[in-house]
Amino acid sequence: MKVKMISRNPDNYVRETKLQHHKVPRNYDPALHPMEGPREYVRALNATKLDRVFAKPFVCNLSGHRDGVACFGKHPKLLSTLATGAYDGEVRIWDLANRISLRSFVAHDGFVRGIAYARNGQRFFTVGDDKTIKVWNAEAPDVGEEEEPVNTILSRHILHGISHNRKDNSFATCGEVCAIWDEQHNDPIKTLKWGVDTLHTISYNPVETNVLACCASDRSIILYDQREAQPLRKVVLTMKSNKLAWNPMEAFNFTVANEDCNLYSFDTRKLQTPLKVHFDHVSAVTDVDYAPTGKEFVSASYDKTMRIYHAHQSHSRDIYHTKRMQHVVCVAWSLDNRYIFSGSDEMNVRMWKANASEKLGVIRPRERTNFNYQEALKEKYAAHPQIKRIARHRQVPRHVMNAQRKMRMVKDKELVKEANVRKHSKKGKVPFVNEKQKHVLREDI
């Protein structure tokens, strides 16, 4: 008698785990899965809850500075290196992987105002309140040797900030004037001046590398081209801008951190209205830095919190704070899009995860697919009220909450007032003004 039977090679059906999971042939007929919607919804809900459970963004604290941290310098090539400058003129180089300070030396008298790495990452430049630009080797000196700058440039003007060109050997400083320097020369190649106000921050466009922008103390943002003899354009906002960051993926967009608790994203080609006003901070925004993907940016504020924004949305997606963190002065997004660094008044540098609930360490492929699935589910059901509520709930410090309440009250009051005025005045006399247009005073040519 001949017996016929189906035989299957178990190698094709057994997963390579110690648990010997058999691969189950599935029938995907939707009629057989009547509850697929509800099941996915529950999965999404659980994923959201887990996301909040695992949302522990704080990675570590780097302590060592003896005064408030003033500025950061990101190494363009090494992810584990970060340079920080403090109010007492001390510069520290950190090994982030091991969470230790590799070098520390006093670079300037008074504040260290800015740190910028050279293009190849072998040198870095610091500027301080003592009107000097100092060039340092990125490599630590040998044992027994003293920390000495490779070069010290005495500037004729006060210096407030420095930024290095990404593609050539020039860098720019700001202060009384905007000066373009060459690495080989001790005198600026060019000084660009518009008005008499102090320029307190400068930033090179990372994509279109000839373009740079400054923020001035007359509440203006000034655009420069390093090849031109004249500045390009000036736009004046209602309050002073503290920092400026260019979008590394979109050459024409930049964001400024403003004193009026908001951030403004501009398109360089259309400066009379910002593309987006980013709200949510309750005190002056001190620093802003873009993620290297250009999709998000992080902002530091005087209200002792940091917030993460989508570049095209006006409200933050996350807020980071700890009890001990005081006014956050500077912030940086690591170049692998994973971490955020914050330097604050109380002398500490902190490291955070850019994605609060992301798992650190090795992620196996199956884990990865599961995370992807959870992420997709969360996105799919994002508008459902329960999921939205859980995903967007944050505990914030009491002072932030109170300030927010107060701000909301003020805003409501103003709205009511405006509405009343409108109601009692001639039609069309009190126009509706777009929120975006309220903050730009004028554009100077």
């Binding site: 000839n210 250009g294 459902h384 932030v400």
Partner: protein, 758 residues
Amino acid sequence: MSDDDEQYNSTAHKKLLQAISNLGNVQHIRKSTRDERQPQQDEFQLFKSAKTTQHATKAVGVNDLVQILRSSKHIETGKKLKNVHSTKKVLEKPLEKPAADRIKRTIGYEGVKKKLGRWDAVVAKQRSAETQIFPIPSETIYINTAAHAKALRTSIKSELGKELEASNKKLRELRKAQIGDDTDEQALAKRESELIQKKLTRDELYARRRELAYLKMRESQKSAKARMQNKIKSKKYHKLQKRQKILEQMKEFEVLQKTNPQAALEKLNALEKSRVLERASLRHKNTGTWAKNLQVRAKYDKDVRKDLAEQLAVSRQLTEKKVDSDSEDEQQRARQMETNEQESYDPFNPWTKSKTAVKDEPQAEGGDSNWRKYWIERNENEKLLAEHSAEMEAAQLEKKQIKKAAKEPTKKKKKPKVVVENGWVVEEVDEAPVKAKTLDDIFDAQDENIYDKISQKLVKLRKQAEMLKQPTKKSKKLKQKRDELKNLKDLTFKKTKQRVEIDEPLNQEEVTSKPAVEGVNDLSKLEEEKKLEVEPTEIDPNKVATITWKQTVRSSDAMNNALVDDDAAEYDEADAAAERQLTISEAFEDDDIIADFNKDKTNDSEVKNTELQLAMPGWGSWAGAGISQKVMERRNKRLLLKLAAPEKRRDDNKDNLYINETSNKQARTHRVSSIPFPFKSLADYEASIRAPIGRNFVPETAFRMLTRPAVITRKGQVIDPMDESELVKPNRRLRHVVDKRIRRQEQADQAKLPKVAK
């Protein structure tokens, strides 16, 4: 006197004279020019004439030079110089510094804007990309070849080696001579050296080799295919292939007809010739061996008979002389009209009413009510109107055709007939004539339509061109106002996969979100309004539409076709008609909505009203019969399950209200109350969340595709900012399976799109 003479100071005298002469002079203030140096610049760019300011000797002017030249032999040069002097304007003084700076700044800014504008396309693409991978993958790989280059070996060959080489060479030649190989070794060597001289890079060499390999592979594939095809003996296959070829030719011909009529004519001739040839030959006459063999079997086999008949039909088709297709069309149309007229109708049914054209005159005009009169009048009016409009249309059509210079006879539109039968008035709606139209008519109409549109567009374009020609001041103003980000906006694609964007402040405190509640109210209000609007049309209070169907229907109409797919139906016509009738009556069965509504309301409570007897026969009576009735009753009472008293419905006293009490209150908090941001319609949003994405519900590859994250980054890799090479980079070659699949899908979608648009 001599003393006086001595005292005479010539310079002082001159001064005096000049002062006197200047007394009557006006001060000439001119615009300053660049012809002389001036120690001081006036802020208004003006200066007094040299006479007044400079009492010293005048500077040498060009005129003096000319004078001198005139007197000498260089008269020509003098003339030229004078000409030059008179024609050329002296440059104006440069602008004031602030103004000049402003201009410079504007120019610089424009330049930067232009430069930044280059990135529009790249940024738009990045933004709309479903998945972005960082660092942006680059195609170029840099290899330091110098580091791995081997040192040249320049050792001197030994004597022995040289001798060996020479003998080897001789040996090879001998062997070659033996085989009869006559390839020129030297030529090969030469080519090789040439190639080396060309210095192909490694990549180029690889590319060339790959290309060659690919070509070879293709060649071999093609030859293999041809061989295989030649081997195929199936007649059917060859027949099909031939048919396909003919079809292709026809297609080509059609294309040619539009593009190149000359070539098309030739092609037509060729086609005709082939037809003639085939006609001349005795093919398809069932005289071949194949047919003869089959004829034997034809007696017993139905299929064979069919094949033979087909063959004969082909031959008939081939040998047939071409007849004017127009007359045939006419006949067909006539036939169709007849069938249309035969159609039955139902006066109450809006579907059938709108479709049928009925012929008889009103029979019982005497016994009609007022409304019938009205209808008749109305019909007559409409008849007149229709006639008039038909005439107008015909006239228009003629005009158009004259324009087109097409020689086809104009087809007059048929007047919509309004005929009455059985005392029922039926008005014909536009759809009926559309149905009666032949394909040609439709195409003609389409052609006309297109022609009209094109001509309109041309007129528009011409106007625009004229507008452009006139350099008006308005256009300048417009230019200033132009949107700088227009290019970027134009370039942005609509995202294929829309996702919810929640741009709200993080909720730090549990505040009942007021706007959301308002939204809900709005939504419900909207729905209510909709209902209000819809209801009166749907529910006919007089229940006009609820009618029993007794008349038989003989033939189909368009609506029935839509309701029932009669292609699939295999039973006979009458059955099908009955079925269709049923579907229509079914469609109107629910028209008594009010009654249904009330019934629905009572349904729930009915279920709750019942009592359940739980006693089973035999249970509790183990001892057999004879148990007292009392005990039995008591027991039965115990086992009678009384359901709870029917709850009072919340909408009990409200006739027009139905509150769904089965809906879950707990589930309500999980429901979305308003359409989230980027979506514009409920249908869109529902579509976006309807399909499952889990691997339990969709196949693995689909799961991977659906759960692809929007941003992929790699650990420990620095993400560099956008590079200029992105501007000129071709599409990335995809390695990942999912990527490839997505790309393919996109391409397929794109291929589909234009068809849909048509």
